[in-house]
């Protein structure tokens, strides 16, 4: 069942994204930002954690998961450090994702040339 839920959730995100892209003037950058914010908002009532259990990688793969990780890193640090935790913890859980993006794009840029 996790597979099916995962496919449905992930597919839904893509459908919404494509719909916004085709019917508004928003760019890809706007749309991913919107999804990050939505992922953060879905943390209310631990909604996103429930989605993660239900859909597995289907929920952890899309960009909404990035917003979810941002809020979790922040909340964790604020428990010990209060307000300052916002600045300290924001990227704690997302570091691997960001670093991987930088390193892999560096390697790919070394090897390939754009074709168009």
């Amino acid at each position: 069942m996790t597979y099916i839920y995962g496919a449905i959730y992930c597919g839904l995100i893509c459908v919404i994204g494509q719909f916004i892209y085709d019917h508004t003037k928003l760019t890809a950058g706007h749309i991913t930002s919107i999804f990050v914010v939505i992922g953060t908002l879905l943390d209310f009532g631990d909604l996103y954690d429930k989605l993660l259990v239900l859909c597995g990688a289907g929920a952890s793969l899309p960009i909404t998961s990035f917003g979810h990780s941002l809020i979790h890193g922040t909340m964790f640090e604020t428990q010990g450090n209060g307000f300052l935790g916002i600045f300290m913890g924001m990227f704690n859980l997302t570091t691997p994702g960001i670093t991987a993006a930088i390193i892999f794009s560096f390697i790919v840029a070394l090897i390939f040339k754009p074709k168009s």
Binding site: Y21, D22, K25, A28, A109, K113, P114, K115, S116
Partner: protein, 328 residues
């Protein structure tokens, strides 16, 4: 009065260079040089555009049996910042160069400026060039980004065309030109510039008709630069709404035609080279061979600046018109 008559300006010769993509549609087999790869055997896209421009100049000189030093002047236009293709591409030659920018209508502005210098037997070369990937990088997004295209976008043509003008009699004459006025009707969609430019085309064509007392039936073809299929339908609607009862069958758009049968080119071609390639590849040979007698050539330019668009400004546009005619 924005229309000026020219007594003795003739097209001595013309030539083109483009890539494999332009060789597929309307211009199949009509281009002088075709590069198999859009890098044109160069390291990057900007150098590729310079190579396209230089190749088209070499082609036209070869065709007309001239050397570079026989030219009085080169008028050149492109889309790159600081006119990179013009100034970097022509930095090693020893004749005067005028670099011009009028977006995709540069070919017309170049011919207008060139025709004013091509007097007393002097020869002036007019060239314009553009490159899909170089323009994409400058005006839209990095090439590596791989952005999904929207349905209404046009595809910048990769290529260059060169025309040599002279005052001695040749089969194709430039009879008159009409200068365009900058138009801005608060169009803000950078993906759909055909709509913005159709207003400029409408203004220039109607002004030309008023100044010369002519209409659509006086020309075999009235061709606009790169409105795309959407922009062309806007233009036709504008004529109908404003009481033009002429048949608009001979009003065609070069951008719509250049990539005929290419689904991934969306609304058609655009860029400095689009109208120039179609002019040199299709219409000038038609005049030369006597298939048509007269042509009103109206390339349109969206004077779009990415920074102004970020600052939420609208897109001004311009169109210049030139009359080509079989010399009698």
């Amino acid at each position: 009065m924005r229309t000026y008559k020219l007594d003795s300006t003739y097209v001595l010769n013309y030539a083109t260079a483009a890539t494999i993509n332009e060789d597929k549609g309307e211009l199949r087999g009509k281009l002088d040089t075709v590069f198999d790869d859009i890098y044109c055997d160069e390291k990057n896209y900007e150098l590729a555009e310079q190579k396209l421009m230089k190749t088209s100049i070499e082609n036209v000189l070869k065709k007309s049996n001239l050397r570079l030093n026989d030219l009085e002047l080169i008028v050149s236009g492109d889309l790159m910042n600081q006119l990179m293709t013009t100034y970097y591409g022509l930095r090693h030659i020893s004749i005067p160069v005028i670099g011009i920018y009028s977006a995709c209508s540069s070919s017309a502005l170049g011919l207008i400026i060139g025709s004013n210098y091509a007097v007393n037997g002097k020869k002036v070369l007019v060239t314009t060039s553009s490159h899909y990937a170089a323009a994409e990088r400058q005006f839209r997004y990095p090439n590596e980004y791989g952005l999904q295209k929207k349905e209404v976008v046009t595809t910048t043509t990769s290529g260059a065309g060169s025309i040599i003008l002279t005052s001695k009699k040749h089969p194709i004459q430039i009879e008159a030109y009409t200068l365009g006025v900058i138009q801005d009707f608060n169009y803000k969609d950078v993906n759909d510039m055909g709509g913005a430019m159709s207003i400029a085309a409408y203004d220039t064509i109607t002004t030309h008709f008023k100044d010369t007392n002519r209409s659509f039936k006086d020309y075999d073809y009235v061709v606009t630069g790169d409105l795309g299929s959407l922009g062309l339908s806007v233009l036709k609607a504008l004529f109908k709404e404003n009481g033009y009862t002429d048949s608009l069958d001979n009003l065609v758009d070069l951008g719509t035609m250049i990539y005929k049968g290419c689904p991934e080119c969306y609304m058609g071609g655009s860029g400095c080279a689009c109208s120039m390639l179609m002019l040199c590849g299709k219409y000038l040979p038609m005049i030369e061979n006597g298939k048509i007698n007269s042509l009103l050539y109206v390339p349109t330019g969206a004077l779009h600046n990415p920074i102004a668009v970020f600052q939420k400004q609208s897109i001004p546009s311009i169109a210049h018109a030139i009359v080509f005619r079989k010399a009698v």
